[in-house]
């Protein structure tokens, strides 16, 4: 309990430092000035997203191989956190693009592939919501996650082959190429900080899922045995079994 609080406090401090660094310590970019600072969190959330989806892929394979529910819990946590990071990236991107490129969106390879990725994993979450039986939910969503993960390189490759025929907007400033040393230090800090936040949220979501599973199992146990666990306040469901 204390360890968790300490870690959460540490990560909170880290993200504050990263935010401060991105806003005040990083030098002002030559052409884009202030708006360029969003890049530190934009790139960081993509990095976190890829890590989260990788965890989800690994967990899906592990679930199908071992059949242990904890892997399913890890899978759904990975996908949920990944979708959030993806959403952050898809929002910060246009916020940056509007002042810099003059347009909110463009259908170039990277953006299109990422949008498809977002749609695929939202479909995963929808699938989970629509299947009721827990074991079927786990195995079907694991299968879908594997298919989606296999599709991602294909989506990126197809979009790359296709969109390179069209002119690309000029991406000014640092996209990792020739960054000023202070900028690259701030970027590394932000990458690490956002990754830590992602891992923290993922672990908490994983714990939550495990607890939910346990609670559901206990509830089922109570109902199937028809136990009387009321303490004077009878709930209709329990009354049924307690005959």
């Amino acid at each position: 309990m204390k360890a968790r609080f300490a870690i959460t406090a540490l990560v909170a401090l880290l993200i504050f430092c990263a935010g401060y660094a991105a806003l005040f310590i990083a030098p002002d970019e030559a052409t884009m000035h202030a708006i360029q600072r969003i890049f530190y969190f934009h790139v960081a959330s993509w990095n976190a997203m890829f890590c989260a989806f990788f965890v989800a892929f690994y967990a899906s394979v592990a679930y199908l191989v071992t059949g242990k529910r904890k892997w399913d819990a890890l899978g759904v946590s990975g996908v949920e956190v990944g979708v959030i990071c993806c959403t952050i990236g898809l929002i910060t991107g246009p916020l940056w693009a509007r002042p810099v490129w003059g347009i909110w969106w463009t259908w170039d390879a990277k953006l299109t592939s990422t949008f498809i990725l977002w749609l695929l994993f939202i479909a995963y979450l929808l699938l989970r919501g629509l299947v009721e039986d827990p074991e079927k939910k786990a195995s079907l969503s694991a299968v879908f996650a594997i298919f989606a993960s296999l599709d991602i390189p294909l989506v990126y490759l197809a979009n790359r082959l296709w969109r390179t025929q069209h002119p690309q907007p000029v991406i000014a400033g640092g996209e990792g190429s020739g960054l000023d040393p202070t900028m690259s230090k701030v970027l590394l800090l932000c990458l690490f900080a956002v990754l830590c936040v992602m891992i923290l949220v993922l672990v908490d979501r994983y714990r939550l899922e495990l607890l939910r599973n346990e609670a559901a199992e206990l509830r089922y146990e109570i109902e199937s045995r028809g136990l009387d666990v009321s303490n004077g306040q009878e709930t209709p469901a329990l009354q049924k079994g307690a005959q």
């Binding site: 199908l64 498809i116 929808l126 699938l127 299947v131 195995s139 299968v143 879908f144 594997i146 197809a158």
Partner: protein, 224 residues
């Protein structure tokens, strides 16, 4: 019994079932036609524009029609609880899946056989000299559509709102296939028809990847 023989028997069953009523086939063809007609309102199909947008519209019509057609594949089994009986037979899970994939491929191909000439007539596109190459592109594209569609039909058969869920799962996944198929078809309908090797290789690669994935994961798909 070998997988091939078992798949052939399942295929025969599916074909027999469908050709009794032919309702799925007719509905698929009519729906694709409706999509094609609706698109004609979205842009003015002059010769130049037909050549530019035509292939894209054709493949979108196939994808939409396919998403609707592939649903009953496993939904019927689920509703009538016959999947258990199939699983109890001494055949591999992949044989069941393969039989259904081949059946859906045949149905989709029959629908395309009707739709492509109609489309060529409605949009004034010439099919002379490119028929065999077009068939190759259609076969590879349809194979990718039916492999993934049948797998996702098996997945969504267990879910609520499966008519909506299947397109939702399938269409984002098929975007690379759509791009590759459209590009291949466009290069065939161009002034100088040519077979685009890169995109064909991509289509073949897509089919192989997802067929292999289906083979590896088939047992988890068919659990009841």
């Amino acid at each position: 019994m070998t997988t091939a023989k078992a798949a052939a028997i399942i295929l025969a069953k599916e074909l027999r079932l469908e050709f009794r009523t032919r309702e799925l086939l007719t509905a698929t063809v009519i729906f694709a036609l409706v999509v094609v007609v609706l698109f004609s309102f979205a842009f003015d199909p002059t010769a130049a524009e037909s050549r530019r947008y035509g292939p894209g519209l054709l493949w979108i019509a196939f994808l939409f029609a396919g998403s609707l057609m592939l649903n009953p594949s496993f939904a019927r089994e689920h509703n009538n609880e016959t999947l258990d009986a199939l699983r109890m037979a001494p055949i591999s899970g992949f044989a069941i899946l393969l039989g259904k994939i081949l059946a859906n491929f045949i149905f989709m191909s029959l629908a395309e056989l009707v739709l492509v000439p109609v489309f060529a007539v409605l949009y004034n596109l010439s099919l002379t000299g490119i028929v065999s190459r077009l068939i190759l592109v259609l076969v590879l594209g349809t194979l990718g559509l039916t492999v993934t569609g049948t797998v996702f039909s098996a997945i969504s058969a267990h879910a609520r709102m499966r008519e909506l869920l299947l397109p939702l799962l399938l269409l984002p996944l098929l975007t690379p296939l759509l791009i590759a198929a459209v590009e291949s078809t466009t290069s065939l309908f161009a002034e100088q028809p040519a077979l685009d090797r890169t995109w064909l290789a991509f289509l073949a690669g897509f089919d192989i990847v997802f067929l292999t994935a289906s083979w590896l994961l088939c047992d988890h798909l068919l659990e009841e």
